[in-house]
């Protein structure tokens, strides 16, 4: 049985300066209530690991607009002009990672692997400063695993064992992020009374520490 807490409790749990993974792909499948509490609790100096910074008025985008993020590790910021403005003005550091590399680095972090060997980025600026390894005549980039202090993920349905079902496109980055952080908090759209079907679980409860419901 996992601890069930409020969004406010979750917000209070995160110290300033933490590295936080937040699930979601644009506005889809993001833990909005917890993000709102992170704003309310005045948490700042975050390193944000996410696919994108959404739009200014929406979930992860609010953390940008409210200047809570000192560094963002993302695949793109194109949908949030405010991230672009802060980036151009040197108010935020942005590390761009190809989307497939980003999600695989997070998976590697959660799976105990030392990194990934990917052909993506070879021959581009992404290669700069990184080790390349030739395997059977083909060059690969060694990209390091990503881990975080906290992962804040979304769940369409969650049971008391922490098992999570994610509907449709809400799966996105939530699945791998739940494996790659010291403390993992899932925001349940619905906390189910009984347990979820053992064959229809997107994130096994072993990865979950707290349920916000």
């Amino acid at each position: 049985m996992k601890k069930i807490i409020s969004a406010a409790d979750a917000g209070k749990m995160i110290p300033n300066g933490s590295t936080v993974m937040i699930g979601g792909f644009l506005h889809c499948g993001s833990p909005n209530k917890i993000i709102d509490e992170m704003i309310t609790q005045n948490i700042h100096d975050l390193t944000l690991i996410a696919n994108d910074t959404c739009v200014p008025d929406c979930d992860r985008g609010k953390l940008i607009v409210n200047k809570r993020v000192k560094k963002a590790i993302v695949s793109h910021i194109g949908t949030n002009p405010e991230t672009g403005r802060q980036f151009v003005n040197g108010e935020i550091e942005v590390e761009f990672v190809p989307m497939g590399t980003l999600v695989e680095r997070i998976r590697a972090g959660g799976a105990g692997l030392g990194g990934i060997l990917t052909p993506t980025g070879i021959g581009t600026v992404v290669e700069q400063g990184k080790q390349t390894i030739e395997i059977d005549g083909k060059k690969y980039l060694l990209e390091k695993p990503l881990k975080a202090d906290f992962a804040i993920v979304y769940g369409t349905k969650v049971d008391k064992y922490g098992n999570v079902y994610l509907e449709n496109s809400t799966k996105n980055f939530n699945t791998v992020m739940a494996t790659a952080a010291k403390t993992v908090i899932v925001e349940a759209e619905e906390l189910v009374e009984d347990c979820l079907d053992a064959n229809h679980i997107t994130i096994p409860g072993i990865y979950i520490d707290y349920i916000v419901a």
């Binding site: 889809c28 793109h76 990917t118 496109s169």
Partner: protein, 221 residues
């Protein structure tokens, strides 16, 4: 010959659609490439993959149909076709990087005769990030660049890209409103021309060395 933006986009999207085959799995970039889907014959079974984690993308969702948890990589709510599958983004890029997607269609700022593509970054300008483009170009079995022939007066089909690359040596076909170019080991082959343009209209607006075969098809064919 002056074509409207709409005419240009339609010529390109229509022609790209002809490159797709029964049973293909296809990933389309945001913008012009997405319009390709409008010209796939109804009787042809092509599955569109969206990099966020969906195979079987249908039309944009409208009215009562809108499900906010069913989106494409552009964040647009979409319907799904029969046989659709939702999965996470890790699975999606394993699929893409692993060579399971038959065709990807992407826009470009520049392409060159070595099959290099630059489509994500202009130094000094605002950089939105590469998103999934680098993985798509590296991973898809066939990479089609669908783009307007020129950017205002700037030449985009070069001997060597000057902008930072998205990937090296990965482009297979370039489709513009004026011509079709195939990237081969020998160089860039001019395969089709739009009869609305003269050969001169085309060669004078491409910096790359061109291999021009004796016979050439019309782009509309």
């Amino acid at each position: 010959m002056e074509l409207s933006k709409e005419q240009i986009r339609e010529i390109i999207a229509r022609r790209v659609a002809k490159e797709l085959h029964e049973g293909d799995y296809v990933t389309l970039g945001i913008g012009l490439p997405t319009e390709t889907a409008n010209y796939i014959p109804k009787e042809m079974h092509v599955m569109i993959q969206s990099e966020n984690g969906l195979i079987g993308v249908g039309a944009k969702a409208k009215g009562d149909n809108i499900c906010r948890t069913s989106i494409n990589a552009g964040g647009i709510p979409v319907t799904t076709k029969k046989g659709a599958v939702f999965f996470d983004t890790a699975t999606s890029f394993s699929m893409i990087r692993g060579g399971h997607v038959d065709v990807t269609v992407l826009g470009a700022l520049q392409v060159d005769q070595e099959g290099n593509i630059a489509n994500w970054m202009v130094p000094g300008a605002f950089v939105p990030g590469m998103g999934g483009a680098m993985d798509l170009v590296v991973g898809a079995k066939k990479v089609i660049v669908a783009m307007e022939h020129m950017a205002k007066d700037q030449i985009k089909i070069l001997k060597k890209c000057t902008l930072p690359l998205t990937a090296a040596h990965e482009v297979d076909l370039i489709v513009t409103e004026r011509c079709i170019l195939r990237v081969t080991d020998e160089g860039l082959v001019l395969e089709e021309i739009n009869p609305l343009f003269s050969l001169e209209d085309i060669t004078s607006t491409i910096e790359a060395d061109l291999i021009i075969p004796d016979s050439m098809q019309n782009i509309a064919a």
